[in-house]
């Protein structure tokens, strides 16, 4: 097939069931930040869930943005390397510099309801072919004679985010 340039999106869910250290730090700190920032949209303490705030309190959708500050420091610690997603050799290799933080759910009185998602968007990669359940991809620095490739398994929460047909 003709090589095409793609970006990948990995949607990482962090919730009360998350166990990795990085995930726990993001969970705890984003919950704390949510409880602080939610007060801005809940002056009478009428609401307790994120859903209620979104439905009833004007401007509460800003909470996605406002709470994201709790995750920025941890994103920087990743050194632009996407977490969790490994190639077929078991190594992290995907680079990212774009992200999108969302609150999935939360509750100011119940931490176990807190869940967020961080969408990581990869740098452009060249998609050369598909082999079985694997994408054969490389970064964009290869020469015409040889490129070093990765095999990446198609998996849940990992999607091709954009595609550019080469001319």
């Amino acid at each position: 097939m003709q090589a095409r340039t793609i970006t990948l999106c990995y949607r990482k869910i962090v919730d009360a069931a998350s166990t990795k250290l990085w995930d726990r730090l993001v969970f705890e700190d984003s919950y704390r930040e949510f409880r602080m920032q939610a007060q801005l949209y809940n002056p009478d303490k009428k609401y307790r869930t994120f859903g209620e705030l979104i439905q009833h309190s004007a401007g509460a959708e800003q909470l996605h943005f406002l709470v994201s500050a709790a995750a920025i420091g941890y994103l920087q610690q990743l050194n632009e390397t996407m977490p969790d997603v490994v190639n077929n050799l078991g190594k992290h290799f995907l680079k990212f510099n774009q992200f999108q933080f969302e609150i999935i759910n939360s509750d100011v009185h119940d931490k176990t309801k807190h869940a967020v998602a961080i969408n990581f968007f990869s740098v452009p990669m060249v998609w050369h072919d598909s082999i079985g359940n694997y994408l054969l991809i490389s970064d964009t620095t290869g020469t015409e004679r040889q490129v070093l490739t990765h095999m990446l398994q198609v998996q849940p929460f990992l999607s091709i985010h954009s595609l550019t047909n080469s001319v």
Partner: protein
């Protein structure tokens, strides 16, 4: 093999192969992983039988506790304008306006062209994480109730006097006050002196 990886593989092997450990038990008096009946050795020294399987993936650099990115004194983030130093003193009106130490103070304001950092796009677009929260900061008051921020003088947008938003929390993060600091307007005011701001007064 790196020590970390070696330890991981050791732990992983230990908890996934309890039968092997039990077998070793019978022939050795040196190793006594006999807490409970599972033979786990991942939590020696406790009476709990609960244990955690060490992760098997390479986790890269281990994360460290990181404060929210609001925690900084210089909130400029490369925005251009007239440099502003804001010193805000928090007093407790229930205590004779005595200085309130340990209070968390958030401030945020618009840039020289009147834009806030959250209004750059739809707010839900992907974004680079380097300077996404420009002109937003958080400090904790010192013994004198004082916090200091470095920023640029805020711009102006339609219908509002030039202002800085302030949200004050106690040390536990409970909201105490949401307010704004507005700058005096008219001739001779700081606002009037802000020549060069494209949306100035």
């Amino acid at each position: 093999m790196e020590r970390k990886g070696f330890l991981k593989s050791l732990l992983f092997g230990a908890v996934t192969a309890p039968t092997v450990l039990t077998a070793c038990d019978k022939s050795s008096t040196d190793i006594t992983p006999t807490e409970g009946t599972t033979g786990s050795v991942t939590n020696p020294g406790t009476s709990s039988t609960a244990c955690a399987v060490a992760p098997t993936e390479t986790e890269g650099p281990f994360p460290t506790k990181s404060p929210t990115s609001y925690v900084r004194s210089d909130i400029t983030d490369g925005r251009t304008g007239y440099k502003l130093t804001a010193k805000i003193t928090i007093g407790n009106s229930n205590n004779g306006c005595a200085a309130l130490a340990g209070a968390i103070v958030d401030i945020w304001h618009c840039d020289a062209t009147g834009n806030y950092s959250e209004y750059g796009g739809s707010g839900m677009q992907s974004t680079n994480f380097q300077s996404v929260h420009f002109l937003r900061g958080r400090q904790v008051t010192d013994a004198n109730g004082l916090v200091t921020f470095t920023a640029i003088f805020p711009g102006w947008y339609s219908g509002r006097s030039t202002h800085i938003h302030v949200h004050i929390y106690n040390a536990n993060g409970t909201s105490l006050k949401v307010t704004q600091i507005a700058f005096p307007e008219g001739a001779g005011s700081a606002v009037a002196l802000m020549n060069g701001y494209t949306k100035g007064m």
